[in-house]
């Protein structure tokens, strides 16, 4: 037997160490569809409990929208369940190309290529377009999928301090002689909810002849006046060279992602991006659902407008209650608790009060930056937010953290 006791012990030791550090992740089983109100079995084997969900990426509340479900059903009926192929052999249907064209129009780019996920898009794009003669300069807080994609690429990799444009400019000067330069950012940073300075990034990239890539996974569908993303927010449509984004969050929440941008870059991905070439095409049922999502968003900005109002209402309520928040305008509202155990305890108590919100701590966020990350949705009604706020205040009072400064919380609970 290849899996000896010695081998087994190596893994059990590692798993024990993860558990001992309080970092063992346990999944909660949801017995309903994704929505503001969900039914959750947690811990495993316990009775199903109805709770308000404030930790989904379901920003526009479209994950279980009747029109999206209907369109997905129709896609299933007319195009089948699976394609049993990668795109370039026999996995491209008319609706795959239709979705690529609609995403191109939606994002205001030149062309788009679909990937099984945005993780795959980010894993594939760098290696497809850059070589060892080139340099990638990324913000130090970009998403893990971008970091992994950059590591798979032979180009030199350098970083700049988070959102520090002076530091980026120094790096662009340092690498001025490289054949190609690519600056990499998130549009909205998923852990802090802050927005990249896209206007300044575009200006610097144009000044130093560098390409700009922005991952819009936490902004596509709702940031900007018509929800196109951070490039729309800053009036930079058409000036971001590469956008990667996901269909797994605001745009229906199922799965899939894309690279959208300059025509030649998209063509290079179609020829060379390994996650595109060597993994299955997106299932027709998902493509049909995303097409309907785009129709809904093109018809009206009602949902992103409601999301904006909900996020402002939630942020105001938590602030007035005395919680410390990460500043920002996005629907990602991190409630800062600084201590990992406190974050876990607060999350557990919120669940007992009927609110599902998860604690984040090292290594997902830096040491001493533990938090409850709340995410607001257009699927929330005011009564959801009021009830969740009531629960937060009750739990906040229990731990005596309301109105306390960061230092006071750290003094009491540690960092």
């Amino acid at each position: 037997m290849g899996y000896s006791n010695k081998t087994k012990q190596i893994y059990t030791d590692q798993l024990d160490a993860i558990a001992a550090a309080g970092l063992f992740k346990q999944e909660r089983f949801i017995h309903s569809s994704q929505a503001a109100d969900i039914e959750v079995e947690f811990p495993s084997g316990s009775a199903v409990k109805k709770v308000i969900n404030i930790c989904a990426n379901n920003y526009l509340g479209l994950s279980s929208h009747p029109a999206v479900i209907k369109a997905a059903h129709e896609g299933l009926d007319t195009r089948g369940y699976g394609m049993s192929s990668v795109r370039f052999i026999c996995g491209t249907q008319d609706i795959h190309r239709e979705l690529e064209q609609k995403m191109t129009e939606f994002l205001g780019t030149e062309d788009t290529i679909l990937f099984p996920s945005c993780m795959d898009a980010n894993a594939g794009v760098f290696e497809a377009i850059l070589t060892q003669d080139d340099v990638i300069i990324s913000d130090r807080l970009v998403h893990a999928s971008l970091v992994d994609g950059i590591r798979l690429c032979s180009a030199m990799h350098d970083t700049f301090k988070h959102s520090n444009m002076e530091h980026l400019e120094e790096k662009l000067q340092l690498h001025a002689d490289k054949r190609l330069k690519l600056v990499v950012n998130d549009g909205i940073y998923s852990m802090d909810g802050d927005m990249a300075k896209v206007d300044e990034l575009v200006a610097l990239c144009e000044k130093y002849d560098a390409m700009l890539l922005i991952d819009e996974s936490h902004s596509s569908g709702f940031i900007g006046k018509t929800g196109r993303g951070t490039h729309e927010h800053y009036g930079m449509m058409g000036r971001v060279d590469i956008i990667t984004t996901t269909f797994g969050k605001a745009l229906g929440g199922a799965s899939g992602g894309c690279v959208s941008g300059r025509k030649e870059i998209v063509q290079m991905c179609r020829q060379k991006a390994r996650p595109y070439l060597f993994s299955n095409t997106i299932a027709p049922v998902v493509v049909a659902g995303v097409l309907k999502v785009l129709d809904i968003l093109n018809e009206s900005t009602e949902r992103r407008d409601k999301l904006e109002r909900n996020a402002a209402y939630w942020r105001k309520g938590l602030t007035e209650a005395g919680f410390i928040l990460k500043e920002g305008e996005s629907p990602i509202v991190p409630v800062m608790l600084f201590n990992a155990k406190l974050a876990q305890d607060v999350s557990r108590d919120l669940f007992a009060e009927g609110v599902y919100a998860v604690g984040f701590f090292f290594p997902v966020v830096p040491n001493g930056q533990a938090r409850i990350r709340t995410q607001i949705s257009a699927g929330h009604e005011i009564h959801h937010l009021d009830k969740a706020l009531e629960a937060f205040i009750k739990v906040g009072k229990k731990y005596e953290i309301l109105g306390k400064s960061k230092q006071e919380i750290i003094d009491r609970y540690g960092q």
Binding site: M156, H157, T159, H175
Partner: protein, 82 residues
């Protein structure tokens, strides 16, 4: 040829600006790689900075974690290629 002490100051300033947190006390002999302040990915950009700043080329085989482990060692390495 640049003065060694001056060079050490320049490199130390770059390292502090690039990698140190507010409460890190970094000196000429602080272990950078083995101390966890600079990771192997960041080493690439540090090497790049030295090459551009001093107009030299450090062979990859000489740019080892040991040779880059503190500012004094880095300055000594740069001196070899001036």
């Amino acid at each position: 040829m640049p003065d060694l002490n001056e060079m050490k100051e320049v490199i130390l300033k770059y390292v502090i600006n690039e990698y140190a947190e507010e409460d890190d006390d970094v000196t000429f002999d602080t272990p950078l790689i083995s101390g966890g302040l600079v990771d192997s990915f960041s080493m690439v950009s540090l090497k790049r900075f030295l090459e551009v700043k001093y107009k030299i080329s450090i062979p990859d085989e000489r740019a080892t974690p040991d040779a880059f482990d503190n500012v004094s060692k880095i300055a000594a390495l740069v001196q070899e290629y001036l």
